[in-house]
């Protein structure tokens, strides 16, 4: 029993910290628009994201919003909810933001508009954290847009770089289209049920007369999530946006933004459209098709890439397919909390290993060694530590027991067997085998190939190195510590099913 009990709204403190940090950065930029004090700007952002991470960690440990205290905390008439799952994902997002900010300090040296960069990143983080607490279609849409709009601007951050602008444009075009589809889907669900709050929607689904309208609405809502998580059929933006954006932002979007899309999808489909109530759409089958298609498209497209960053972008599409198993294996006989928990645990491990891999790309861009596989030849002779970390990330992404990726993929495999969906298990194994080939191409280039001529590295930026080191340590630590993580995820998932 805590000595002081906080008011209920204090459960939203992590999001408030993110928003406040963004505002502090805006105010600083308004007062000192010409300032190039990047250490101060990065420092403010780092303090903000660490504070948010600390508060979330404290809540997780203290049991805020979890069954062992007073259960889920509902705010604003049940439109926001803070529970184990939202805290789990807020912690994930805050960790990714911390790594990204740390790396951006070196990466952004010499660039203008740094204050805007950091404050947009903080606003996007606010939106992503809100997505994990959204408990009504209204808050879901607003928080999804709050996460998306700053992301468009962040991708187009290098406004004199054609690649960055093109990436921003494509991300924006697909994003605007899919958010319009999402909004129309929400309006159809409202038309069929008369409410937007998840529990109320679930209550009204059974006796709606507009079954066709509801079904169409659910399909359109799936489309909205497919965009946010970079799944087929709305994955086209992902390779372009990740390749064109500055590398820390690619890491941010492919890890945190994807996780936020998934947590919202988990909540919507388990709370608002429970499979035993909704007869209109068998969304489990829809997700089985999407999962297999996403895995296969992502991994086989990654095989053919010449640029490492683009390969990672397609691999990130493939990983979205793996996580979709968490929704696709929710069949009648399955242990729902285990299936869902496996997806959550994979997203957490993925957040560290994938952000780490993109931060290594940031380091390579900082050194200006080039973008193709050949350009990475012999990099280990110059920077053995960073290359060792990158090898850990890649092998963990492939699912070898060098990092937590091994167990999280194994759990997903168990989940698909538990759900009795053999095709998911088969697709997971085949795709993991395929992915090992293209991941090891990078490792081979770095460690085995001879450097081509004038490979020389002059600087070893501290911030980037620190971020990569933290990500690597976390990836490796998640191997022995996977048990407690999976247990936390299962407990969080249990409240939803």
């Amino acid at each position: 029993m805590a000595a002081v009990s906080l008011p209920a709204w204090a459960a939203l403190a992590p999001m408030a910290v993110f928003a406040l940090t963004a505002l502090v950065l805006f105010v600083y930029d308004a007062v000192e628009p010409e300032s190039h004090n990047s250490a101060l700007l990065a420092g403010i952002s780092l303090v903000g994201s660490l504070l948010a991470l600390g508060i979330t960690g404290w809540y997780l440990v203290a049991g805020t919003g979890q069954p062992r205290r007073n259960g889920a905390i509902e705010l604003f008439g049940g439109n926001l909810v803070v529970d184990g799952m939202s805290l789990f994902f807020t912690a994930l997002i805050a960790s990714v933001v911390t790594l990204v900010v740390l790396a951006s300090y070196d990466y952004l040296q010499g660039h203008d508009y740094q204050a805007e960069f950091y404050s947009l990143a903080m606003l996007a983080a606010t939106g992503m954290a809100m997505m994990s607490t959204a408990n009504s279609l209204a808050t879901a849409f607003v928080s999804l847009e709050l996460a998306s709009l700053p992301s468009y601007a962040l991708v187009a951050y290098l406004k004199h770089n054609r690649g960055s602008v093109e990436a921003g444009l494509k991300y924006f075009l697909v994003g605007a289209l899919s958010s319009a589809i999402f909004a129309y889907g929400i309006s159809l669900v409202y038309a069929a049920t008369g409410s937007l709050q998840f529990d109320a929607v679930a209550g009204a689904i059974a006796d709606t007369s507009l079954v066709g309208v509801l079904g169409l609405g659910v399909v359109m809502v799936i489309g909205g999530f497919a965009f946010k998580t970079a799944s087929v059929p709305f994955h086209f933006w992902a390779p372009e946006a990740y390749e064109g954006a500055v590398a820390p932002i690619s890491g941010f979007l492919s890890s945190a933004s994807k996780a936020a899309g998934f947590v919202l999808a988990f909540r919507v489909f388990l709370t608002a459209f429970p499979i035993d109530v909704i007869g209109a759409v068998d969304w489990v089958v829809a997700f089985q098709v999407l999962a297999v298609a996403t895995m296969t498209v992502g991994n086989f497209a990654a095989l053919k890439q010449e640029k490492v960053k683009r390969m990672l972008a397609y691999s990130s599409v493939g990983h979205a397919g793996y996580v979709l198993i968490a929704l696709a294996a929710l069949t009648d006989g399955a242990n729902h909390s285990f299936v869902l928990g496996s997806g959550m645990a994979h997203l957490l491990v993925y957040a560290f290993m994938n952000t780490g891999a993109f931060l290594f790309i940031a380091l390579a861009e900082h050194w200006e060694v080039g973008r193709t596989f050949e350009d990475f030849n012999g990099l280990a002779t110059e920077a053995p530590f960073a290359c060792a970390a990158m090898s850990v990330f890649l092998f963990s992404l492939a699912g070898l027991p060098l990092g937590g990726g091994f167990f999280s993929k194994f759990y997903l495999l168990m989940a698909s067997i538990n759900g009795g969906v053999a095709i998911l298990a088969a697709a997971l194994i085949v795709n993991s085998a395929v992915s090992l080939y293209y991941y090891s191409r990078v490792v081979k280039a770095m460690w085995i190939e001879e450097p081509n001529g004038d490979l020389e590295i002059e600087s070893y930026p501290t911030g980037l190195y620190a971020a990569i080191a933290i990500a690597a340590v976390m990836t490796v630590l998640l191997l022995p510590a996977f048990g407690p993580v999976a247990e936390t995820a299962n407990m969080a998932a249990e409240m939803l099913v």
């Binding site: 209204a138 187009a156 054609r162 494509k170 309006s187 409410s195 372009e240």
Partner: protein
């Protein structure tokens, strides 16, 4: 005499499809923005009509949110189209193709 609520669904579907058609066939980025706006407003028609039908205000209030977000989205979109024009001397969305898979 009141209009049956199904007619609103039909109207919104027509508006939505008009917007979708515009996105698929037009190449001008500004027309794209207008088409997205049409699609969002199709959603608003549903929300307002069914808000009246069910007699609760949820839909109407959410329609206000959607409008505000649509405006924010256009603001970001115009910014990106502006830098697109500066870099590619055109706002044709099919011209920006430096990256290919």
């Amino acid at each position: 005499m009141t209009v049956p609520v199904q007619f609103y669904l039909l109207l919104s579907a027509v508006v939505f499809c008009t917007g979708l058609f515009g996105i698929l066939v037009r190449r001008n980025a500004l027309i794209f923005l207008m088409s997205v706006e049409l699609m969002l407003n199709a959603g608003n028609i549903n929300l307002v009509a069914f808000s009246h039908y069910y007699g609760n205000l949820t839909g109407q209030v959410f329609a206000l949110f959607t409008m505000a977000l649509a405006a924010a989205e256009v603001a970001i979109g115009i910014g990106i189209i502006l830098v697109l024009y500066r870099n590619f001397e055109d706002i044709d969305v099919t011209k920006a193709t430096t990256m290919r898979w």
